[in-house]
């Protein structure tokens, strides 16, 4: 009798302990336990490492001299900080002139695309007109048309106008809302301007401001976040575009990613033109230094503006409805 009672109490105690331990590790409702947190953090860290692994690899190899590369004992940390790779990559990429050209062919179309997307998005968001739904539907559908289908006729068209090799082959489509991923930018502005209170516009109208003045003096200053987001995204997408760039820009203009594509060819050329005394073959270190140099400007931009990129996805509003 006594025995079974004791057993009962013991059992109760045990189960109380168990729930305590369980709640510590697995968490009670709404509150995460230690075990779950450990899982979440370790998963995030491991996956984060896999994400960054190519970058870490690039960074490490770009500082390795030839001896370090050949030495099997040296894995991650180079024996000395060897900057020669960067010097060579710098020359091969022809860094500053190329950077200048890249900025030229990315920033100008990006500005044009942002401006026009704001105008179009405003039109869709604030006005009612016949066939609006259909036109908006077409805007969305254009997103799935692959640029490869439009590439050839546009090339023929620009060739006829002798615009191949000039920035206009990039700028003109952007200027008319047909640039890279223009649909997304129109959507961002559409979403943004829809949330703007109607009362503001009406008040301005009563004060005698016309429709276009309302847009310029009230809507645009309010849309600064959307403008920054659209500009940054379009900057990055134009920068990374190589297929269209190499086709439209021809030999007159080049961008850093295109230079990177031809990296080893340019390297050999440079080497042959110099005397064969100090000639060397391209190695991993040099090519990794080149790759890292080519993404460096984007990395710097990203570090300062990452907040906007993250917000941009929120603001696109596709998540809202």
């Amino acid at each position: 009798m006594m025995d079974s009672k004791q057993k009962m109490i013991q059992k109760k105690n045990m189960s109380a302990y168990l729930t305590k331990i369980k709640s510590f590790f697995l968490g009670v409702q709404g509150n995460n336990g230690f075990f779950l947190k450990l899982c979440v953090y370790s998963l995030l860290i491991v996956i984060g490492f896999v994400y960054l692994y190519p970058l870490i690899y690039m960074g490490s190899y770009s500082f390795k001299s030839l001896e370090d590369l050949l030495n099997p004992l040296i894995n991650w940390i180079p024996s000395t900080v060897y900057l020669e790779n960067y010097m060579i990559a710098f020359q091969v990429l022809n860094f500053f002139p190329t950077l200048g050209q890249t900025l030229y062919v990315t920033i100008i179309p990006s500005i044009a695309q942002t401006a026009i997307a704001a105008i179009i998005g405003y039109g869709f968001a604030r006005y009612e007109f016949p066939f609006k739904k259909i036109i908006f539907g077409i805007v969305l559908i254009t997103f799935i048309i692959p640029p490869q289908v439009l590439m050839i006729p546009r090339y023929v068209f620009f060739n006829e106008l002798e615009l191949i090799g000039s920035i206009f082959s990039f700028l003109l489509p952007a200027l008319f809302g047909q640039g890279l991923n223009s649909t997304i930018f129109i959507l961002i502005f559409y979403q943004f301007f829809r949330m703007m209170p109607k009362a503001l516009e009406e008040a301005a109208n009563l004060d005698g401001a016309g429709n276009f003045r309302v847009f310029l003096t009230i809507a645009i200053p309010m849309a600064v976040p959307a403008i920054i987001i659209a500009f940054l995204f379009s900057f990055v997408w134009y920068w990374n575009e190589t297929t269209l760039a190499s086709l439209y820009l021809g030999n007159e203009l080049t961008t850093i990613p295109i230079q990177l594509e031809k990296f080893s060819a340019t390297f050999d050329e440079l080497n042959n033109s110099q005397n064969s005394e100090g000639a060397q073959d391209i190695n991993e270190g040099i090519s990794m230094a080149g790759t890292l140099l080519s993404i460096l400007p984007l990395l710097i931009v990203y570090i300062f503006t990452q907040r906007w990129f993250v917000e941009g996805v929120d603001r696109s509003g596709i998540t809202g409805e």
Partner: protein
Amino acid sequence: MKQLSLKNKKSLVGYSFIFPWIIGFLIFTAFPLVYSLFLSFQQVKLTPNGIVTTYVKFENYIYAFTVDIQYTQVLLRFLRELVISTPIIIVFSLIIALLLNQPIRWRTFFRMVFFLPVIIASGPVIMDLMEQDVTSIPSIEEYAIFDAVLSNTEGLFHTILTYLMENLVIILWYSGVQILMFLAALQKTDRQVYKAAKIDGASNWECFWKVTLPTLFPMIIVNLIYTIVTYSIFALNPVVEHIQSQMFEISTGFGYASALSWIYFLVITLVLVIGVGVLILGNKKYR
């Protein structure tokens, strides 16, 4: 009467705002679309006087499927990779978004890491990384297991596994935007619903399947479309490369390249329709 004219005026102003888009669409999208369809039925010759075309019926299309073995091969390879990668990208980005939605520290930092590839991933950069073999799983121990698994599997499963192992990092790199879209949707879902479900005795696991997943369903479709589109227009895509190389081939030229790009367009559209259709049908059954 006055009301109507005001309304008319308003819609005119509306049109004037979207006017640039209409013009641009006609010149830079609609016309090229029709023109490339036209070219795809032509033999195109570049002469000093301009472009000379001769009508060849379906010759280009027939050539693509019968003579140009390389094209069907790259197209099939692309399709296989797309079918393998898309579900992985979507499931993976959903998992990451769920993890990031937990109350954790350094969320901004993790978000920044997962979004980073969107910024730096251009064709040549990924090309370089692939050449250095850093796109596969970065650890030797796993290779031992991986080898054991590989030697015990055959056929289709084998190819899928090999492809996955070799390109895992790149596949994961495609999911930056998708993660943030899922995360934004998760943060907008109503906490009250979860509380109600919890009171009714639902576990976290049940909550995920009964509450989270259904609310995320529209996002899954958006992400599916986004993934397929971005995947198929990426510069390293073998089909894109093939089309571009055919463009300046003298024997084939613009006409043939246009036909190829149209086949590609139709294939992508078909994949999109099937993908979205399967999701919607599956969702109906699931409910």
